[in-house]
Amino acid sequence: MSTGVRVNDFVIRFSNVNGSGSASANSMFAKALFRMGLPISPKNIFPSNIQGLPTWYEIRVSEKGYLGRREGIDLLIGVNPQTLSEDIASISPGGYFVYDNSKPLYESDIRSDIHYIGIPMMRLSMKHFKKARLQQLFKNIIYVGALAVLLDVDMDVLYGIVDDRFKKKPKLIPSNYEALDIGAQYIRQNYETPLNIRVEKRDLTDGYILVDGNTATALGLLYGGASVAAWYPITPSTSIAKTFESYAKVHRHDKKTGKSNVAIVQAEDELAAIGMVIGASWNGARSFTATSGAGVSLMSEFIGLAYFAEIPVTLINVQRGGPSTGMPTRTQQADLISSMYASHGDTKHVILLPSTPTECFHYAAQCLDLADRLQTVVMMLSDLDIGMNDHFTPAFEWDEDRKYDRGKVLSAQDLDRIETFGRYLDVDGDGIPYRTIPGTHPTKGSYFTRGTSHDEYAKYTEKGDIYVNNVDRLLLKWETAKTLVPKPIFYQNELTSDHGMIFFGSTTYATLEAIDVLQEEVIHIDSMRICAIPFNQEVLSFIDEHKLIFVIEQNRDGQMRSILINELNVDPQKLVSVLNYDGTPITATAIYEQIAAQILVAESIA
């Protein structure tokens, strides 16, 4: 039954009940692996519920740095009686089931092809700790200690994490140590360790951090200079505003006056949230809102106003499973079309597509710059997987010399200098007009902002030709945007294949792994990651240079494929969808299999 020793390459899963405090224990274990110098990829699978329902936490350890989700569980810690049977059934043959043997297992839950490691977690906890609440909490720490020994994690690393975590409440340190030791000790006394799956220290985390995308986004917005935030709670975006707030409490606190250099408003709904952003941006403050699909739907009318009246808007959409309320705690990339073309009439919006928390940080800051520069709606489309899971990701960097790009804003001096100010005059030929901020100048530069058709001087008009000039200028601005948004990323030095692969956002890790597998087992495929819409020239060239291109995305309708076809006039026959839309992150295997099948079919025909 043994499958040989597997070092630094396995998936372990924790099966818990939500609201029971397991999240903190599990993430402690993940951090320990990280501090062992290993690339890891934790994923939280949780219900749309507060307390009492099953929740899972999965950690993939991959020395090779494969950070996508992988099917197949090598070790499962099962402490949720509700899901015991299905948990046991989910373990890969040869894998391990670690469980609380305070109660015996049913006969039917005994599989001959996996190992059972029973630990009387609750009994041990009750023996050592008095209060019921603590017994519950420390049970979790006990299994962390046990796991450490089973997988050969350095106990000192765990102690170190405890030290860091309770820096401000040092009294809690000894009991946490104790709980860890109880678990460790029990294993040492009762089992042979380490298991065949195990970790060894490496040095692969230099320059990396372990952080979730929403935290990164919040920090990006903070560094990018947002001073007005308006939002309405909605999973999975809520933590952006909340994290922004908590960092702002420290870093936007005016020490002299004790006052705040930021205004954060929990709006009454998403319509109000984006309205506030539009008002603040119009009035010259950097401003953002963060929401998910339902929020964007509600914001549609206002998005059209911002597009047409040319007001900077930074909108973060952390996508979840749709349509409607859908699967609020699952991940998808299914808001591309509805976000990009949001609002009635001829509209299209700039979209940035981060694939890691590090990119969330940079793109969030860049959204604020681009919105100011382009005077339009700039959306960042992240998703639940990026946003709410911790990721192994490059540390954040900020160029000391970087300056905010506030775009074409006229100062009082500018106004004194120029002869005529036309709010919607295309002075520079790039489709982007100049704007003024209310209050700038006593007599010059005031204008009337409106969602109705207007001339170059912001005056209302119903004249067809003036309208056409104006909306054609917006298309020119769209062209300008192509030169400003992040360029695609390529994963080869030169293009050598007839086949290409296009992907974006959270499918990246799985795709990169699939590329390796395909290369080994089938064929080399060139690949390109799209980072923004509108597509720049590089995207078109890549498509032009391949005969068949796989477009990997996490939605039913192949939305990115549609947008590529529309925006670039690509022949649809050339673009083949590789999809996953069941709410879980796509795996390398799924990508590999879909592509391999297509290629083999194509070859068999040819």
């Binding site: 501090r35 951090i209 372990l210 920090l219 560094y223 200079g225 001073s227 007005v228 308006a230 870093h251 005016d254 006056t257 004790g258 006052k259 705040s260 250099n261 930021v262 205004a263 954060i264 408003v265 709006a267 009454e268 709904d269 319509l271 109000a272 949230a273 984006i274 309205g275 506030m276 539009i278 008002g279 603040a280 941006s281 119009w282 009035n283 010259g284 403050a285 401003s287 009318e301 206002f302 106003l305 540390a395 954040f396 960097e397 900020w398 000391e400 300056k403 905010y404 901020i437 209310p438 209050g439 700038t440 006593p442 007599t443 005031s446 204008y447 009337f448 902002t449 409106r450 969602g451």
Partner: protein
């Protein structure tokens, strides 16, 4: 009509203390129907801003959609204006105000814009006590879409089509009182002598000011049977108290009959003077205001004037403890925590 008799004969041709003529407060020519109440309110706004020596560029005017919401184009051309979308002016005003606490915000809306599609935002902007003046040009109908009853149309009121309205009216003044708005007034577009000082006071009030101005729609709702017609309002209107507004620097120069009047001092030192024509309640006491308005409703009176004021309540910036510098003027060094901080943030994720 103002109690402050000007010393010169043609004040409008004289620059005010900040050097502007009255025409500097005007806007482009109105395209509303001749006789529309809204035009009178625009004129009152022009007058009020001129009178209180407001520099036009220090005011931002905002609106939703409707005939009423078009009016910001018809006053204060030297101010920045924002004609947004239907019913959502309050959120735009909130964002704008958060970005720059130092400007004066004047929102204009209609009864359709506020009491129907905009009800949610109206309630919440009051709850936040945003420092703004919110004027509802209330004609009981949807002027721009050709006269449908609005949610402020009184039960039984008859519009141009001859149909009595079966629904009960939403009373925006009652709502504002229930929501603890810090400045609540009602007026009539046809009563400039009351409206102008109310606007002046509202603009000077630090916090949310509602002025619900009945403003007849001559085209769709000025017929017999309408309770928002010029005739009806003139007949049933009750002046609560003669209102006057005294800017800070003038406060000493006025002489009132102390028994008959009451003063409310505002944040900037200016004062509202109320000469009690009907001194049955204390406009600084919410309970008594609520009672008075309920009685008026019961008697079929249209109570106008300053109904309630609380000049102590902190506005949204106060509630959020924002810094004194307008947020839109903060510089990169105030906003960006820098690379050293970032390193320690990175460390916290290791």
């Amino acid at each position: 009509m103002s109690y402050l008799k000007p010393a010169f004969t043609h004040p409008q041709l004289q620059p005010n203390r900040v050097g502007y003529l009255k025409k500097d407060y005007e806007g482009v020519i109105s395209t509303l129907c001749a006789g529309c109440g809204h035009d009178s309110i625009s004129a009152a706004i022009v007058q009020a801003c001129y009178d209180i020596d407001l520099e036009p560029h220090r005011l931002a005017k905002l609106s939703g959609i409707g005939c009423s919401s078009k009016t910001p184009a018809y006053f204060l051309s030297n101010s920045h204006g924002f004609n947004s979308v239907h019913g959502r002016m309050p959120s735009i005003a909130t964002g704008a105000n958060l970005a720059n606490k130092n400007l004066i915000y004047l929102g204009v809306s209609g009864d359709g814009d506020t009491a129907s599609i905009g009800m949610g935002q109206f309630v919440h902007v009051i709850r936040r006590n945003l420092n703004m003046t919110y004027i509802v040009m209330n004609n009981g109908c949807y002027g721009l879409t050709k006269g449908q009853d609005s949610a402020t149309a009184d039960h039984g009121s008859i519009n141009k089509t001859g149909q009595p309205n079966p629904f009960q009216a939403i009373d925006l003044v009652g709502m504002a009182l229930e929501l603890n708005a810090s400045f609540v007034a009602r007026s009539f577009s046809g009563d400039k002598s009351q409206l102008v000082p109310l606007i002046k006071a509202a603009l000077s009030h630090q916090g949310f000011s509602l002025i619900d101005v009945i403003s007849p729609c001559v085209t769709f709702n000025n017929n017999a049977g309408s309770t928002k017609s010029y005739d009806y309002v003139r007949e049933y209107m009750q002046q609560t108290a003669q209102v006057d507004f005294v800017p800070p620097r003038k406060a000493l120069s006025v002489d009132y009959d102390q028994d008959q009047s009451m003063e409310v001092t505002l944040f900037d030192g200016s004062e509202i003077l109320l000469t009690k024509l009907k001194p049955e309640w204390d406009p600084t006491d919410r309970h008594s205001a609520v009672n008075r308005i309920n009685n008026a409703k019961a008697n079929g009176e249209i109570l106008t004037g300053l109904i309630y004021i609380n000049s102590e309540a902190p506005d949204l910036h106060g509630l959020l403890h924002t810094t004194d510098t307008p947020l839109n003027q903060l510089q990169e060094q105030d906003l960006c925590p820098g690379t050293t901080v970032l390193e320690s943030i990175n460390d916290s994720f290791r």
